[in-house]
């Protein structure tokens, strides 16, 4: 695309009125809403497709190991044993999950495990809108079954004194953000 600009007039060169245009632009910018999010007090809400931390549901899982197979870096560890349950006079073999661990520190959040999961709704999913995953120790990022299911209950960093719960409840959520 070729753009043809207005020809420079003599008055543009000798009268400095262009400067006023610049000043007008910056002044208009002064009163516009700012893009800054004051992080610990305000949080950006990610979009629906955002891949955050794992969430796992023990009840939905059928222990088929498909997610572990799908994982390209093999960080899902699953142990299963068979149990025999009596149901209506019939003996039935049921798979029981012993271990479901994810080494999140090595995860690249490709979401292939979620795609591979055959249950409906998925028993492992990543669209949790969480991005606060930083820890002080890398071993803290090895999550077992219980931790994967209940990490939502752990205390959240607010940047405020711990007893100051009133302000935490009144947190402002900012929608939109990265699209």
């Amino acid at each position: 695309m070729q753009v043809e600009y207005r020809k420079e007039k003599l008055s543009d060169k000798y009268l400095v009125l262009d400067l006023l245009e610049g000043l007008k632009t910056t002044l208009r910018e002064l009163f516009k809403p700012k893009v800054t999010i004051r992080y610990p007090e305000e949080r950006m809400e990610p979009t629906d497709r955002f891949r955050g931390m794992f969430k796992f549901s023990y009840d939905r899982c059928i222990a088929c190991k498909l997610c572990a197979v799908a994982c390209p870096i093999d960080i899902i560890y699953i142990d299963v044993h068979d149990d025999i349950v009596e149901e209506g006079g019939k003996k039935k073999k049921v798979k029981v999950l012993d271990r479901y661990d994810i080494d999140v520190k090595r995860c690249m959040f490709c979401s292939l495990c979620e795609e591979a999961c055959p249950t409906k709704p998925k028993s492992i999913w990543l669209t949790t809108k969480t991005y606060e995953l930083a820890t002080y120790d890398r071993n803290d990022l090895y999550f077992n079954m219980q931790e994967l299911e209940y990490w939502d209950d752990r205390p959240k960093y607010t940047g405020l004194p711990e007893d100051d719960t009133k302000q935490i409840e009144g947190q402002k959520q900012i929608s939109g953000g990265v699209e």
Binding site: M1, Q2, V3, E21, T25, T26, E29, K34, V35, T36
Partner: protein, 377 residues
């Protein structure tokens, strides 16, 4: 207490101290105001963490400067290195003796009949500290910054002085109080002297090494310019001197072109006599008007900084020598001709015309054909 002591020493000292404390408070506040406002101009928030809306930053910054380690380069010229930050402070502080903050005689520290000349003489010595600091740091970037500053300040001292001449010709006095008294009876000087006012505004920015003329501290070329090697309190002194000089120049432009402490023209409105009639309250009101005007110009500095990109050095010199000085000289000639013809009031139409032209340019309806797009093929 005899009369001479109280009249020439005691009261001026008290008044100076009060003015000094207020001005230094403004300087400290300016540091925060500039950073905050610059942030708001640039679609961010600026410092807002300390205290309400970041107001405690005014205290936090000096405390940080005081507690920081004071590093002196091993190869620095010790005496000159220490003198560098001190020298620009002295004229910047003394000048506040000479500026009339409110209606005389209560709100002026001293009334000197060549006050303007004295202020010009004092402010132009500020460059010594910068050169000395740049040279004593024994660092080529500092030296470059110092030299640039010297060249720039000397160049812009000329249009700075010449732009004032027009005002002096109209008012017929170097006494700042007389100049203000003239402006309240006639129009404020920016109307008949709009060209001089513009030159003064530009030179004022150049004198203070502010963006668009901040070449001495151009961080993309010379690390930080003349204060590269300075840290802690010495660096703070440089900043203090810079902001003080900004306030001095804002005071000057308000006094010379925008009617000082008055808020009226042609003898109508809040003139000196009206303010004096109100007693002490009137005096404080006048001072408040003056400070408000000064702060508006301080905000203008920030606004300019947020808007204009930096000049190249040859462009800076071109602007100074090829445009500003001839323009200032032409302004003197034109003003002289009008005064000779006894038609000073006709000069107002120049100012009204120029302001009208600028307003017309700013608020004219946008033409859709300002940019034509030609698609390929």
């Amino acid at each position: 207490m005899n009369h001479a002591f109280s009249h020439y020493l005691f009261w001026p000292l008290i008044k100076f101290l009060v003015a000094f404390v207020i001005v230094q408070g403004l300087v400290a506040a300016m540091n925060w105001i500039e950073r905050r406002l610059l942030g708001l101009f640039q679609a961010r928030l600026g410092p807002n963490r300390v205290g309400y809306k970041g107001l405690l930053q005014i205290i936090a910054d000096p405390v940080k400067f005081l507690l920081k380690e004071d590093i002196v380069p091993a190869s620095a010229e010790k005496v000159a290195y220490f003198l560098g930050p001190m020298l620009p402070l002295i004229p910047a502080f003394i000048v506040f003796c000479l500026i009339p903050f409110g209606p005389p005689p209560t709100f002026t520290v001293t009334r000197v009949n060549v006050g303007l000349l004295l202020i010009l003489a004092l402010t132009s010595t500020g460059v010594y500290g910068i050169i000395l600091g740049g040279w004593a740091s024994n660092n080529k970037y500092s030296l470059m910054g110092g030299l640039r500053s010297a060249a720039q300040m000397v160049s812009y001292e000329v249009p700075f002085g010449l732009s004032i001449v027009g005002v002096l010709m109209i008012c017929g006095s170097l006494d700042l109080v007389t100049i203000v008294r003239y402006q309240e009876i006639n129009a404020w000087n920016f109307l008949p002297q709009i060209v001089a006012c513009f030159i003064f505004l530009v030179s004022m920015n150049a004198e203070n090494n502010r963006t668009p003329f901040d070449l001495p501290e151009a961080e993309s070329e010379l690390v930080a310019g003349y204060h590269t090697e300075y840290s802690a309190m010495k660096f703070a002194f440089f900043m203090l001197a810079e902001f003080s000089m900004m306030i001095v120049n804002s005071c000057l432009i308000v006094t010379l072109f925008f009617g000082g402490w008055t808020l009226g023209m042609f003898g109508i409105g809040l003139t000196t006599d009206v303010l004096k009639g109100m007693g002490m309250f009137g005096g404080i009101l006048g001072t408040l008007i003056f400070v408000t005007k000064v702060m508006l110009f301080m905000l203008m500095y920030v606004w300019f900084r947020a808007t204009f990109p930096r000049f190249r050095f040859d462009q800076l010199m071109d602007l100074g020598w090829k445009w500003m000085i001839p323009l200032a000289l032409g302004n003197i000639v034109v003003t002289g001709l009008f005064i000779l013809a006894g038609q000073e009031r006709l000069l107002y139409w120049i100012g009204i015309g120029a302001i009208g032209l600028a307003a017309l340019y700013l608020f004219k309806p946008k033409r859709a054909e300002s940019r034509k797009v030609i698609h390929a093929s």
